[in-house]
C-alpha cells in the first residue's frame, strides 16, 4: 500500500482509482447487458410482427364487418323482389315478344311447355334492371324468377331463406347472370329444379 501522504481529496481519489471490477466481473456485467440488447432487438422484431398481425387482424375484421353488413343487406334485395311479386300477382302478361328476344339474346332456353308462364316483364330491383317471370306449377304452386344480366353487385351473395309463404334463393349462374328465385311452399322443389335446369343447363342448384 502506498504510504505517501496526500491531501484528503487526492488520497481518496487514489484509493478509489485502485478499486476496479475484476476481469470476470466486468465480463459478466457486459455479457448481461449485451444479451439483453440482443433480446431487445428480438423483442423489437417481435413487436413489429405483432403490430403487423394486429394491423392485418383489423383489416380482416373490417372486411368481416363489411361482409356481415352485406350479408344482412341481401334480404333487402329479397324484400324488394318479394314486394314486386306481390304488386304483380294479378298481372298476366304471358311471354311477350320482347321478353322472348331477351331470353334468346341471353341464351336462356324457354320454360318447358308443361309450366305455363303467367307473367313476364322487366322491372327494377334496388336500381338494378331485372326480368321478372312468374311460372305456374304443373298442378300447384308458383315460381317467380328474376333474371339479372350483368356484373353482380358487390353485396349480392348466394343464399337461401324463407319470406312469408315463399322460399327464396339467390344464385349466380354465369359470370353475368344472377337469379333470384321464389317459389311457394306448395311448389315441388323437383319441379323448380327441372324448370331451371331446362332454361339454364349449366345451373348447379
Amino acid at each position: 500500500m502506498n504510504n505517501e501522504k496526500q491531501a484528503v481529496k487526492q488520497a481518496l481519489k487514489t484509493f478509489y482509482a485502485n478499486k476496479s471490477l475484476s476481469g470476470s466481473q466486468l465480463q459478466s456485467l457486459q455479457q448481461k447487458l449485451t444479451s439483453q440488447f440482443t433480446k431487445d432487438d428480438e423483442n423489437i422484431t417481435n413487436d413489429k410482427k405483432i403490430s403487423i398481425i394486429k394491423c392485418l387482424g383489423s383489416i380482416a375484421a373490417s372486411f368481416l364487418i363489411v361482409w356481415m353488413l352485406a350479408y344482412l343487406h341481401t334480404p333487402q334485395l329479397i324484400s324488394s323482389a318479394y314486394a314486386d311479386i306481390q304488386k304483380d300477382k294479378n298481372l298476366n302478361t304471358g311471354l311477350p315478344l320482347a321478353i322472348q328476344q331477351w331470353l334468346d339474346e341471353n341464351k336462356i332456353t324457354r320454360v318447358p311447355s308443361q309450366y305455363p308462364v303467367e307473367m313476364s316483364k322487366f322491372c327494377t330491383l334496388d336500381q338494378n334492371l331485372t326480368m321478372h317471370m312468374r311460372i305456374a306449377g304443373k298442378q300447384q304452386g308458383m315460381l317467380n324468377v328474376f333474371f339479372y344480366h350483368g356484373e353482380r353487385p358487390l353485396f349480392w351473395f348466394n343464399g337461401t331463406g324463407k319470406l312469408d309463404d315463399l322460399n327464396w334463393r339467390l344464385l349466380k349462374v354465369r359470370e353475368n347472370l344472377t337469379l333470384i328465385v321464389f317459389y311457394t311452399h306448395d311448389m315441388r322443389e323437383k319441379s323448380v329444379l327441372h324448370i331451371l335446369n331446362e332454361m339454364l343447363p349449366e345451373i348447379e342448384v
Binding site: M1, L12, K13, F15, L21, S28, L29, K32
Partner: protein, 170 residues
C-alpha cells in the same frame, strides 16, 4: 450501454456505500438487472442512465440495510443545522493522509458519510450538483459537507492513534 469506465464508476460509487468489494459488485449487478427488467421504451426515455443507476444502487443499499436493521441512524442528517460555520473548500487541504489511513477513515464513517465524501472528493461534484442528487436544498448540503469535514478531522485523529498503535505492535 455502459463501457468499462462507467461500470467501474458505478462499482466505486457502490463501494463508497457498502465498503465491501463483493457487496459493491452485487449492488451494481442487481441495479443493472433492475434496469434491464424495465421495458425498452422506458429505458430509452432515461436521460442519464449512469445517474439513474446510481440512484438504484443507493436505494438498493439502504433498503438492504433497513432489512438488516444495522443502518446507523446517527449521521450528519440529524445534526443541528441552525448554526452554520462558513464552509471553506480548502479546509481539508492541510490534512495529509496515506492510503492506510484512507482505508481506516472509510471504515470509521457510515455509508451516508462515505457516499457524500465520494461524491465530493472523487467525483468532484459541486454542492449544487450534490444537492440535486439528494434532492435537498443547497444550504442543507453545505451544512452536511461542513459537518462531514469536521467529522473527518475528528476521525483522522483517532485513525492516527490507531495507526500508531498498529506500528508499535509491528
Amino acid at each position: 450501454m455502459f463501457n468499462k469506465d462507467e461500470l467501474n464508476q458505478l462499482y466505486r460509487y457502490a463501494l463508497s456505500l457498502s465498503k465491501h468489494e463483493d457487496g459493491a459488485y452485487d449492488l451494481v449487478q442487481t441495479a443493472i438487472e433492475r434496469l434491464l427488467r424495465k421495458p425498452t421504451a422506458d429505458v430509452a426515455l432515461i436521460e442519464k442512465p449512469l445517474a439513474y443507476l446510481k440512484v438504484i444502487i443507493r436505494n438498493l443499499y439502504f433498503d438492504l440495510e433497513r432489512h438488516k436493521k444495522v443502518l446507523p441512524m446517527i449521521s450528519i442528517e440529524t445534526d443541528n443545522l441552525l448554526y452554520l460555520e462558513p464552509v471553506d473548500d480548502n479546509s481539508m487541504e492541510d490534512v495529509l493522509i496515506n492510503q492506510q489511513e484512507v482505508q481506516l477513515l472509510i471504515g470509521r464513517l457510515n455509508a451516508q458519510e462515505n457516499e457524500l465524501l465520494y461524491l465530493w472528493a472523487v467525483e468532484e461534484h459541486t454542492v449544487e450538483e450534490i444537492a440535486a442528487i439528494y434532492e435537498k436544498p443547497r444550504g442543507t448540503m453545505l451544512s452536511k459537507l461542513h459537518r462531514l469535514k469536521k467529522r473527518i478531522r475528528e476521525q483522522l485523529q483517532l485513525v492516527n492513534i490507531e495507526v500508531n498503535v498498529m506500528s508499535n505492535k509491528q
